[in-house]
C-alpha cells in the first residue's frame, strides 16, 4: 500500500481532491498527501477529519484547511483569507504570509504562520493557539474568547479589541490596544506558555521581551449607570 498520495490541481478540481480527503482517505492507511499547483485555489483541504499530513506546494487561496480536525496541513507558500478558520484540532502551518482572519473562530489545535499574518488574525478565537512568526495586522484577536495568540513581530492597531478570555503575547511593538484590552505583567506561567507554544510551532526564539495582553473585563457587564461611557 502506497502511503503517499499526490494530486495535481492543474488536472483535478479542488472538489475532487477534497472528496478524496473526506471520503476515501480515512482508514486508507495513507499518511501523507501532497497537493501540487494550488495556484491560489480556495478551500483546499477544508473539512479534514483524520490524522494525515497534507502538503500544499505553492500559494493558496481562501479558507485553506478550514474546520481542520486531527490533520496536519502545511502550505509551502502564502494563503488568502481565513486559513484554518474554525480549526478544531491538529495543526495548520503556513510557510509564507497569511491574509486576513487567520485562525478565525478556531476552537482548538495550533495555527502557525511563519511569515506575517494580516488584519483580524485570530478574530473570535475560541480556544485554538495561533503563533505568528512575523507581525499581525489591525484588529487581531478581536472578541477572542479563549486560546492564545503569540506574535513574534509587531501588532497593528486595535489589538485585542473587545477581548474576552483569550491571551495575547507580543514580542515587538503594539501599535495600539483595542477597547478593553490592557497590557499585564508577564508571570512565570506566561513565560512557560509562550515557551511551550514557540516549541510546538518550531520557532527558534527565546521568550524574552514578550508582553502579555488580556481583557480588562470592563465591557463584560452592561452598566446602566455610566450612560455608555466606559
Amino acid at each position: 500500500m502506497d502511503r503517499v498520495k499526490q494530486f495535481d490541481l492543474a488536472k483535478l478540481s479542488v472538489r475532487e481532491v477534497n472528496q478524496f480527503l473526506h471520503h476515501e482517505l480515512p482508514g486508507s492507511g495513507i499518511e501523507r498527501v501532497e497537493i501540487l499547483n494550488p495556484d491560489g485555489s480556495h478551500s483546499i483541504a477544508a473539512g479534514l477529519d483524520c490524522d494525515v499530513a497534507v502538503e500544499i506546494q505553492g500559494h493558496a487561496g481562501y479558507f485553506i484547511a478550514g474546520m481542520n480536525k486531527l490533520a496536519s496541513v502545511t502550505v509551502h507558500g502564502n494563503v488568502g483569507w481565513s486559513v484554518a478558520e474554525n480549526i478544531m484540532s491538529g495543526c495548520v502551518r503556513v510557510k509564507g504570509h497569511a491574509s486576513e482572519s487567520a485562525g478565525a473562530s478556531g476552537h482548538g489545535g495550533l495555527v502557525v504562520i511563519e511569515g506575517d499574518a494580516s488584519s483580524r488574525c485570530g478574530i473570535s478565537m475560541k480556544g485554538c493557539d495561533i503563533v505568528v512568526s512575523g507581525s499581525v495586522g489591525h484588529f487581531s484577536a478581536f472578541m477572542a474568547q479563549a486560546g492564545t495568540l503569540v506574535v513574534c513581530g509587531d501588532a497593528g492597531p486595535n489589538l485585542g479589541d473587545s477581548l474576552y478570555e483569550a491571551t495575547i503575547y507580543v514580542r515587538g511593538t503594539i501599535h495600539s490596544l483595542g477597547a478593553d484590552a490592557r497590557e499585564e505583567e508577564m508571570e512565570p506561567a506566561d513565560v512557560e506558555r509562550v515557551s511551550r507554544l514557540l516549541a510546538d510551532a518550531e520557532i527558534d526564539l527565546d521568550t524574552s521581551g514578550f508582553k502579555r495582553v488580556a481583557s480588562a473585563r470592563s465591557l463584560y457587564h452592561w452598566n446602566a449607570e455610566v450612560h455608555q461611557e466606559y
Binding site: 495556484d39 491560489g40 487561496g61 494580516s118 488584519s119 495586522g137 489591525h138
Partner: protein, 298 residues
C-alpha cells in the same frame, strides 16, 4: 464583490505581451464580478497635440465610419478612427472641449468614455471572458493596464456603470468596495461645476480624486485627502499615463495582492488571477497594507 486587476510591464521589449498576460487575469476574476467588465490600457503617449477619444455607442450596428465622416466634415479637424464592435477611438488634434461640444450636439447617443494621450478604454455589460474576447484584449499592446469585473451592489448594471471610471485626461480608477457618502461628495463636486454621468459611487471617488489633482494636488495628496473625505470600503487601483497606483482604506476588508518581479508589477483581488504569470513562483508576493499608497512608474 467585484474583481480588480492591474499589470505594469517594466521592460519595453515585453510590452507587446501586455494584453496576453492581463486577459487571463481579468477572465479569472469573472467569478468575483460576472455582470460587466472593463479594461483601460495605457499605450505609448501621442504627441502633445493629439488625443485618443474613447467612444461607446449602445445602438447595435452603429455606423462608426459615418460618425467619423461627420466628425471630419463638421469640425474640419484631422482624425482617424479605430473601430472595434460598439467601441471606437477617434485620434485627433482637436481641442478636447471642442470635441465634447461637437459630440453632444451631433451624436448624443455616443458616449465619451476616455480622453488622453495614452489611455484606451473598453467596458461593457456581460461576462468578463466574453468581453475580453469581443474586444480582443489579448492583442492589446501597452505599458500598463487596469481592469475590473463587476458584481453590482449599489447601482444599475449598464455599460456606463462598468469600471474603469475616468475623469479628466489619462486618469482612470477601478474600485472594489462601496462608498457610503457618494451623494455628499457628488453634491460638493457638482456645486463646483463638475458633471456626473452616472449615479455610481465609484464615479464620485474617481471625480473627487481628479478634482483634487486639477486643484494642484499630487495623486498621493489627493488620496490622503480622500481618507478623510470618502467614507466606505475601498481598494482603489488607479492609472495615469505613466503610473499605476494602489490604495486600500483603513479597514482593508476588500482584498488585494501584489506580485512584483524584475519584469512586471501585477495587482489582483486574488492570487488565483496571478498564478499564470511568468516567474510568479519567485515573485515578491505581498498584501498591500491599509492606507498605504503604492505607486509604480512606467
Amino acid at each position: 464583490m467585484c474583481g480588480i486587476v492591474g499589470l505594469l510591464i517594466k521592460r519595453e521589449s515585453q510590452r507587446e505581451s501586455l494584453g496576453q498576460l492581463v486577459t487571463p487575469m481579468l477572465d479569472c476574476m469573472g467569478t468575483r464580478g460576472p455582470d460587466s467588465a472593463g479594461l483601460a490600457v495605457f499605450r505609448k503617449p501621442l504627441n502633445d497635440a493629439h488625443r485618443r477619444f474613447g467612444l461607446f455607442c449602445r445602438e447595435p450596428g452603429f455606423q462608426w465610419q459615418t460618425f467619423h465622416q461627420d466628425f471630419l466634415r463638421d469640425t474640419s479637424s484631422d482624425g482617424r478612427i479605430e473601430i472595434i464592435d460598439n467601441h471606437a477611438t477617434e485620434i485627433s488634434s482637436i481641442a478636447v472641449d471642442t470635441f465634447k461640444a461637437w459630440l453632444e450636439a451631433s451624436h448624443p447617443d455616443v458616449h465619451l468614455i476616455s480622453v488622453g494621450r495614452a489611455i484606451e478604454m473598453y467596458k461593457d455589460e456581460g461576462p468578463p471572458g466574453e468581453i475580453a474576447e469581443r474586444f480582443r484584449f489579448s492583442e492589446l499592446i501597452g505599458t500598463h493596464a487596469v481592469g475590473h469585473t463587476r458584481m453590482a451592489t449599489e447601482s444599475a448594471v449598464s455599460p456606463a456603470h462598468a469600471h474603469p471610471y475616468t475623469a479628466g485626461e489619462d486618469f482612470c480608477l477601478v474600485h472594489n468596495g462601496s462608498l457610503s457618502n457618494p451623494y455628499s461628495i457628488r453634491r460638493k463636486l457638482e456645486s463646483r461645476g463638475i458633471v456626473f454621468e452616472t449615479d455610481n459611487d465609484t464615479e464620485a471617488g474617481c471625480r473627487f480624486l481628479e478634482w483634487r489633482m486639477r486643484e494642484g494636488d499630487t495623486l498621493e495628496a489627493a488620496i490622503e485627502t480622500s481618507f478623510d473625505e470618502l467614507d466606505g470600503f475601498f481598494t482603489f487601483l488607479m492609472a495615469t499615463a505613466d503610473r499605476m497606483v494602489l490604495v486600500r482604506d483603513a479597514f482593508a476588508c476588500k482584498p488585494a495582492v501584489v506580485a512584483e518581479t524584475d519584469d512586471y508589477v501585477a495587482v489582483a483581488s486574488e492570487f488565483r488571477s496571478l498564478a499564470h504569470l511568468p516567474g510568479i513562483q519567485s515573485a515578491n508576493v505581498f498584501e498591500p497594507a491599509p492606507e498605504q499608497i503604492y505607486s509604480w512608474t512606467v
